[in-house]
Amino acid sequence: MTEPVLNVEGLRTHFFTDAGEIPAVDDVSFYINEGEVLGIVGESGCGKSVTSLSVMGLVPNPPGKIIGGTIDFRHSGGKVEDLRRVSGRRMRQIRGNQMAMIFQEPMTSLDPLYKIGYQITEGLRRHTKMNKKEAHRKAVDMLKIVGIPRAEQVATEYPHQLSGGMRQRVMIAMAMACDPELLIADEPTTALDVTIQAQILELMKKLNKEKGTALMLITHDLGVVAEMCDRVVVMYAGKVVEEGDVRTILKHPKHPYTQGLIRSLPKMSEREERLYSIPGTVPKPGSIKDGCRFAARCPHTFDRCVEETPELLPLAEGHACRCFLYDSLEGGGAHDRSTTAEGH
């Protein structure tokens, strides 16, 4: 069995605001193997972005702070480091070098006052011993790899001269420049046109295959998940509610929330009167103390759901779900419910 590149255990990231302590990420665990694509799925505000920022050590502080858990990162040499415990200086050596990130908003994620070439070489010169000329050559090569035409010229242009899709390619070139072991992409295609989306996804898939870079893909788009991911973690209100390989999650979802997400996808083949939507809205983080956080919106809620907090239950090899429907304590009833829950 391969060791995971990244192994997050019991991560807790809270925001300390005037309105009180908000547990944006509450006891989240997951891992990513070498060369694997892990999807982290959930609605806006479920904590998936904060999870990725926590891994990168970029949670805005104040008000945010990681208050618990471990983030074990394995270097290509095999050495494992807990990123929560390393110094800021060490973190800056890892960040952008072994671990890189692409953000959601390509339009605002590049510094408007510096040329594209400079923004790519900046990281290269920080992490490698390349001189100016070598770094520039490498930057142009990276622009070519991510499919930017006239790479030489684009390197001397400013971000406002490029389209959104081009800028996202630049972001990818920048992130991949130092050959990271792990690439985190936070909704990389959300702000782009559908046709450009497909190109960007294809590019990331290609880089993942060719360079063996592990990819942590944050998205709310199950289509993207189906296209890209090997395994999926579904998050709801700061917690992991289900995880498994992509086939299981998409074909046989167990958690009522995952089922709802999949049902709310419009289908090309059927023309339904109304699109399905999960009733209600995501609860405000921290507003639910006891019980399952999805209980208020779940079609299968029973007493226990509001009284106790469910644990993440292993269902099969690599598949786990946080729901009492599958708790063996419920005895024979569990099976019935599970079939009810699944049948739609």
Partner: protein
Amino acid sequence: MLAYTIRRVLMLIPVLIGMSLITFSIIHLIPGNPAQTILGEQATPQAIEQLEEQLGLNEPYFVQYGEYMMSLLQGDLGQSLRTNADITNEMWPFLAATIELTLFAMIFAVVVGVNAGIISAWKQNSIFDYTSMLIALIGVSMPIFWLGLMQQWIFAQELGWFPAFGRGNPRDPVETVTYFYLVDTLLAGRPDQFFTSLGHLVLPGVALGTIPMAIIARMTRSSMLEVLRSDYIRTVEAKGIHHLSVVYRHGFKNAVIPVLTVVGLQTGTLLGGAILTETIFSWPGIGRYVYEAIGTRDYPVIQSGILVIAFMFVMINLIVDLLYSYIDPRIKY
């Protein structure tokens, strides 16, 4: 960039013409007969006639304006009524003194203000932030004559660190070439005198620079706070770049435009002659020169003073505008 610069310089022509029209008309805006007003109630008709002749007041307005412009273009500002000297020559030492003091004050204001603002924004809500913003608040609210007098009392009178008056040692003058004493003393090969002149700049410079410093610090802080929250700063951090580089190279460069605007306006204001500061510190600057001309109704000097100050203001605005487009590639008008 070059095309923009040329266009921007050409745009100055109407501004300069407007400026000259206004200064030209000052003498004609005096109620009644200008010559009479200048010479006073007891003036003889002969004297009035002579002055009208001297100032060309008998000619039609457009002829007068034409002559005024012709001499301006030749760098001739006319003669002082009081001393009969060429104003161009007479004014320069005063102007040089003001420019030297302003540059010193603004360098102090920018270096202290910008860094205080940057660190305050970077370490928002820290002790440093609170302290420097409190000082900035006191700085903008403090009357400059009070600050000047307090400085003289503490640093000149009590501690004796810096001289309180004048520009240099009058008993051991160096040859004046440029009338910038810091330059002249070096040209004369007198580093000791250079430091004397520098010492004379400290108190008036700090007094004059305090308000701009406070304004710059507050402007830098608010502009930086906005920039430091932006997506591209997070991108730079994600690259693992050192804090200082993140904050200064990417943060401050993006936050600099409003700061630059304030610096330009403040420099213009200071060049306009800080009469209070110049008076308190006996600084022979343009403000006092023009002020004395007002006292003696020396209209050509007043006209020239206003013209020169307005001209410098326009030039500073030009420099600021050119800097904008140099810093931000998106600014191309």
